[in-house]
């Protein structure tokens, strides 16, 4: 178990910069998720920590020690690959005992440890089978067993659940988390699935195009996104153009076309200046629809239901509010509002977040570019 630290780590492959000046701390014993779309550099970070790629610049520290130049086989890390990478010509027992063999663990002791590891992943007694004789989910557990049996300082997991079907994935999600909790190993988990990240992590590091966009606890990242990218990537979010009309260190007043004036607490608009343009972020589930007047303490607007996506206990509405479009997700008990219905949408200002507008070259980093 150890703390892992990236100090302005950069990795370039020729012209491509896969990771740009990443500064991240993975606390000892924590479960941290690297979350981001395909190609944003998640695997590259993991491979650099494992030693399979060398950083172009910056330092990687494990347990306070700089390990840039430490060869892979001396790093004592457990790495679980997306496709499991079990050795097809070795039995499950030999696969799991592999790391023990190279640590000089005596045979009898290794056999005990293999048995224990198989119990932890709830697959006892499969030592003599070959990987291809197991299902995908079982192979995934074997890969995990092989990685944890060596008692690694850090456990690295590269989208280990993505090859499983939806049901199994949710089951393994819970199981993986509880195994991690039991053995308490510092874990770094890579995924592009936001619900996986929200469900499993102590901390989430959101990445885009090689840059770290935000780092924080799941509810922090979800509720107070630091950039438009984070707001859009985690769950369904609406973004409205706004303008700061007044601000002090407690409150920020915004003017929007759809909802008029609303006042946010300062911590919901921490990145805003005291004037100028802004973007108002409203989560789809925070937009309330009703036929009656809006409740007190909310701001509201008239809207038309343009389309309905009925999902049983939930309905997703596509709304036209003046000139802008918005999405709302609501629990329903009866029938959903039909297409074309005239409704009132309301929101509580303290549920919103305000951000500085993105710089013109698209999705931007926390500081723009």
């Amino acid at each position: 178990m150890a703390r892992v630290e990236l100090q302005s780590v950069t990795k370039s492959f020729g012209q491509i910069t896969a990771v740009k000046k990443a500064d991240v701390v993975f606390e000892e014993g924590s479960f941290t998720t690297l979350l981001g779309p395909s190609g944003c550099g998640k695997t590259t970070i993991l491979r650099m920590i494992a030693g399979l790629e060398a950083p172009s610049a910056g330092d990687i520290l494990i347990g306070g020690r700089r390990i840039n130049d430490l060869p892979i086989h001396k790093r004592n890390l457990g790495l679980v690959f997306q496709n499991y990478a079990l050795f097809p010509h070795k039995t499950i027992g030999q696969n799991i005992a592999f790391g023990l063999k190279y640590r000089g663990v005596p045979k009898a002791e290794a056999r005990d440890k293999v048995r224990q590891a198989l119990e932890i992943v709830r697959l006892p007694g499969v030592e003599d089978r070959y990987p291809t004789q197991l299902s995908g989910g079982q192979q995934q557990r074997i890969a995990l067993a092989r990685a944890i049996v060596i008692e690694p300082d850090v456990l690295l997991l590269d989208e280990p659940l993505s090859a499983l079907d939806a049901n199994l994935r949710e089951e393994m999600r819970v199981e993986l988390k509880s195994i991690q909790h039991r053995i308490g190993v510092t874990s770094i988990f890579v995924t592009h699935d936001q619900s996986e990240a929200l469900a499993m992590s102590d901390r989430i590091v959101v990445m885009s195009a090689g840059e770290v966009q935000q780092e924080g606890a799941p509810e922090e990242v979800y509720n107070t996104p630091a950039t438009e990218f984070v707001a859009r990537f985690l769950g369904a979010a609406n973004l409205f153009d706004a303008r700061v009309t007044a601000a002090d260190d407690r409150l920020v007043e915004l003017e929007t076309a759809a909802f008029g004036r609303l006042t946010l607490p300062r911590d919901r608009a921490a990145r805003l200046g005291d004037a100028g343009p802004a973007r108002l972020v409203v989560r789809a589930e925070k937009l309330a629809l009703s036929e009656a007047a809006a409740p007190p303490g909310t701001v509201s607007a008239a809207a038309t239901v343009a389309a309905v996506d009925y999902q049983g206990q939930l309905a997703r509405y596509f709304l036209q509010i003046g000139d802008s479009q918005a999405q709302a997700i609501q629990m329903i008990d009866g029938r959903p509002y039909p297409e074309g219905a005239e409704v009132t949408v309301s929101l509580r200002p303290e549920d919103c977040t305000a951000l500085p507008p993105a710089s013109p070259d698209g999705e931007s980093g926390p500081t723009g570019r």
Binding site: L52, F87, Y102, Y130
Partner: protein, 289 residues
């Protein structure tokens, strides 16, 4: 019942064109050869149809033929082992290089096949002959003052064989290396292997099927040839195939040639059968990968 039997026959219907072709092109000519081996050779090129075991008796009793079989096996093993050692490295390089134009490397392997293999074999005369490139260079540099005798001996024959058969080995090994999951070696590395240990634990065992196929191919091709020793070898460097050539072309003794041909065919067929039986068992225990 009747329907079940009909279904049992269906694979045979589908196989019948192939079976017919094999029967016509392989089994029938081989039967001719077998029949011919019982004929009697009276004079140069003059045979008498008969059913007698004179040729077979000669094969089994004349030690000249036994020496040829021994020489053939020995040289084939030498060539196979050398080709395996020399072929693995380039195969590994082509399979794992990050060079973007891999097809170019593979093309380089295949291009020699565009030139007749006899011409490729003859080219060694200009390289290793007394007036060849190597001797000319060494003489000019003053390293030697008499040309080295590199031609018309076993060494030259081995060089010629390796030159011609190495691509078969490389391609076979390459194909099996190419099929190995690229994450396996890194996985072994993170579990504590040095690069060399990771190779021995993962890549080498998983590439054995390709290596085995390459070895079988090179062995059989070498054991069945006669042109290379004819061009590059000395009087003592003959293989079993050269005896067939001599019997048929020089002595015009077709019955003896037929006997020898059939023998070589059976011997090599036996090698293939035993070897592939052994490899298949091996693969079963290695499990379904």
């Amino acid at each position: 019942m009747a329907q079940a039997r009909e279904q049992d026959l269906r694979p045979w219907y589908l196989l019948s064109p192939a079976l017919a072709a094999i029967a016509l092109l392989v089994v029938v000519p081989m039967s001719f050869i077998l029949v011919y081996s019982f004929y009697e050779n009276i004079d140069l090129g003059l045979d008498r149809p008969a059913f007698q075991f004179g040729n077979w008796h000669e094969l089994l009793t004349d030690s000249y033929y036994h020496v040829a079989i021994w020489k053939t096996l020995r040289l084939s093993v030498i060539v196979t082992v050398l080709a395996a050692l020399m072929g693995y490295v380039p195969a590994y390089f082509i399979a794992f290089t990050r060079f973007h134009h891999k097809w170019l490397l593979l093309l380089l392997l295949i291009i020699p096949f565009w030139i007749s293999f006899i011409i490729r074999t003859l080219s060694w005369i200009h390289i290793m002959g007394n007036e060849g490139v190597i001797n000319a260079l060494l003489l000019w540099l003053g390293v030697i003052d008499q040309p080295l005798h590199m031609m018309y001996n076993e060494f030259a024959v081995v060089v010629g064989f390796i030159h011609v058969f190495l691509p078969y080995m490389i391609l076979n090994v390459y194909v099996s290396l190419e099929g190995i999951d690229r994450n396996l070696e890194p996985a072994a590395r993170t579990l504590g292997c040095t690069p060399w240990q990771a190779f021995l634990e993962v890549t080498l065992p998983l590439s054995l099927p390709g290596l085995a196929a390459g070895c079988l191919l090179v062995f059989v091709l070498t054991a069945g040839s006669y042109v290379t020793p004819l061009i590059l070898g000395g009087p003592d460097d003959f293989l079993f195939g050269n005896l067939i050539y001599d019997a048929v072309m020089s002595e015009l003794n077709w019955p003896m040639g037929a006997t020898l041909s059939f023998t070589l065919l059976v011997l090599l067929g036996l090698v293939v059968v035993v070897y592939s039986r052994f490899m298949r068992l091996n693969q079963l225990t290695k499990a379904f990968g």
